[in-house]
Subunit: 464 residues, 2 copies
Amino acid sequence: MPSRVIAGTALHTPTRGRFEALEDVLILVDAIGRISEILPRDHPRFAEIKAQAERQGNLTELQEGQFLLPGLVDLHIHAPQWPQLGKALDAPLEVWLQRYTFPLESRYADLSFAREVYSALVETLLANGTTTAVYFATIHLEASLALAEICLAKGQRAFVGKVAMDDARQCPDFYRDASASTAVNETRAFIQSVRDRAGEEDPLVHPIITPRFIPSCTDALLEGLGKLAEETGCLVQTHCSASDWESNFVQERFGATDTAVLSQFGLLRENTILAHSNFVTDEDLALIRQKGAAIAHCPLSNFYFANAVFPLRAALDKCVRVGLGSDISAGHSPSVLDGCRHALLASRARHSGIDPHLPPEERGLAGSTISVAEAFWLATVGGGEALGLPIGKFAPGFKFDALVMDLNAHGSNINWLPDLDTIEDVFQKLVLNATRSNIVMTWVNGAVVARSSAAQMRDDQAKQ
Amino acid sequence: MPSRVIAGTALHTPTRGRFEALEDVLILVDAIGRISEILPRDHPRFAEIKAQAERQGNLTELQEGQFLLPGLVDLHIHAPQWPQLGKALDAPLEVWLQRYTFPLESRYADLSFAREVYSALVETLLANGTTTAVYFATIHLEASLALAEICLAKGQRAFVGKVAMDDARQCPDFYRDASASTAVNETRAFIQSVRDRAGEEDPLVHPIITPRFIPSCTDALLEGLGKLAEETGCLVQTHCSASDWESNFVQERFGATDTAVLSQFGLLRENTILAHSNFVTDEDLALIRQKGAAIAHCPLSNFYFANAVFPLRAALDKCVRVGLGSDISAGHSPSVLDGCRHALLASRARHSGIDPHLPPEERGLAGSTISVAEAFWLATVGGGEALGLPIGKFAPGFKFDALVMDLNAHGSNINWLPDLDTIEDVFQKLVLNATRSNIVMTWVNGAVVARSSAAQMRDDQAKQ
């Protein structure tokens, strides 16, 4: 017996670059939020199961103009930077970090400030369709734990990391771990506390080991966190080869690339999430693939701070795991659909190059483009594979993390002409034009966790 | 006596790159929609004028969290392409044009289809803050006239062009003007009809002479339209040096650049709007400046179809007039605020380059970035100067075309912390993060022409 049945048309990209429409299907969801079965319209038990679910009050039926999309996966979010979203991006990276970002992050010693910001953040991300979020928090144990609790309370699938950063040469006095051992011990305590709260079996929220990036960590910290990953089986996230400065710094300190150094310290593991990775070499990509680690491609923040464009096409063609990251707040949008659009733009900039005064063949790197379906795959299945979770598409055994998209929603910018648009056209319009206004309902693990303001207002009216 | 007084804080960029906040001012608007005076808080008559306006029911007072921005100017929109917004952008330009765009545009022989699409388009653009729109329509006289009528009826400031394209070698059989003389005569009739409808004095809607682009026009048509511009004093718009193919085609046909050819035919005039202009030379920029023509920079569609990035910084530094174009539907967003964001990304791609495997100094064109304030200037004052209209900032003599932005609107993605954010931070957050949801009211020429769906729903509730 399914605990919930959803009737409607679902659109997804089950394999990279391949769009598929599941038209007028029944999606059966079990008690632990997993899709147990998907019944096509011509299935012999279709009408019976639908009628039964309706009688039992377990049926959700999509309306005309509504379509299901898989929930979106955001592999790279700095939760404490939420208050400065869209601010100070004219500043160079150093100023942005030292004058804005570190002072802001240091404020999360204040737990009530943390709770207020994190609640607003998680609600906004759910409303924008982010059903799985991978968070950097701050160095503060309590505030980081508050973020995990808020994700649990609001029903967002999440990985939450207490940030570790102890190197006095790179971290400001007012914002760093007291020592490598403190950072490792607090990370261990954080892992245990999150696991206690989220439960043993199929937890919605996971801890993740989070060295900020190599330059901000001493060797002792990197080594300690590597051992902790091995000891706890906890996933790891960090920044990797993000900019010229950062890559050169690591090269000078270790005589090796970020990827190689992370590997030496035991931090390059199955499902380690490497943010950016713009300057990885072919050898790095091979090592990342071999280890089963993954790249969080953050195209928007890359335009601002990366000094170049991540070779996405090359990574995909080498079958390296890649998903998308908003990189809040070095990226100024909380929307992973915006992330799809920016990944397309970055791939096209790489393809075409930038200088019209050069001959075409010298301008860009031909063959670097991705398709709309590939962009959406990155935002869903790609993110799921990066994390090793059964999310991102509609298939038996996968979690029912989904968005109800409404083309006719109040405030929609989508113009839909049923007699001119194929179902794939509708999909492309959603990926390229949908806004938060079109996301009328967000499901995580089989439960509704957000409804749009227009839908809420209609409910409020109905209640009056 | 002002016919309307608006009380609140207005944010704008009166000169290029300079942000200014007019805090807690009174903006006095006269009977023809022009700002007659702006009174600072400490003006001796401030309280008296405000009280008087309130008594007379002429006061609009902004609420906590609301700010005025100047209305946005979109210099390049293909109105008939609205139904395919966000569709088929994976296709190469030739396929996109021949298989999707020309067949769609040819449908506007059907006037009722045209009215339906154009009504939806103008409403959507007003809701997204586009107070001035420069439109390519189609070759159809009646449908193009319907667009002008709809702009008048809905109160959008607009330039509307009946497209002229007659060259059988480049235009499809099913969609082209019968001959050069037909196209010129119909354009002349169109200009007169729009002027009849919009009135002589300070019209809200203007006709604009619109050769599609040089490759689609015979010499006779280009010559005829150039003479028509001289005869009627009507502005001109066209595409210019948009891609490798197009630039090379013109070079082969005329042995000169687009800009030079347009000039020869009398089409490069004061306030001629040149869409794209990615491949203009330094000589072209000098000629554009000398003639007082302007460039509609369309960064989003450029990523898809331009083969390179427009040298925006260079154009600005040479004091060439530049504004922004959404290039609907080669651009997939109807929002000029998105246009600001894309202009920033394009400028940064040009600055940083795209290939991390090159040394930094060989990658990009250092010094190409623009600031957030410059991007917003392009979207407002820049667009106004391109068209020769007194719009885009809050100053006496300028039209009151304005947006009420609400940071606390339903569905807002902006996180605003008054004790952490300066007024300039608020401005940057609006430019980088505001969506249609934040635009609760749109004014053109001193009249409210759109209200957000949330605001409308609150009204509907109040009426019940």
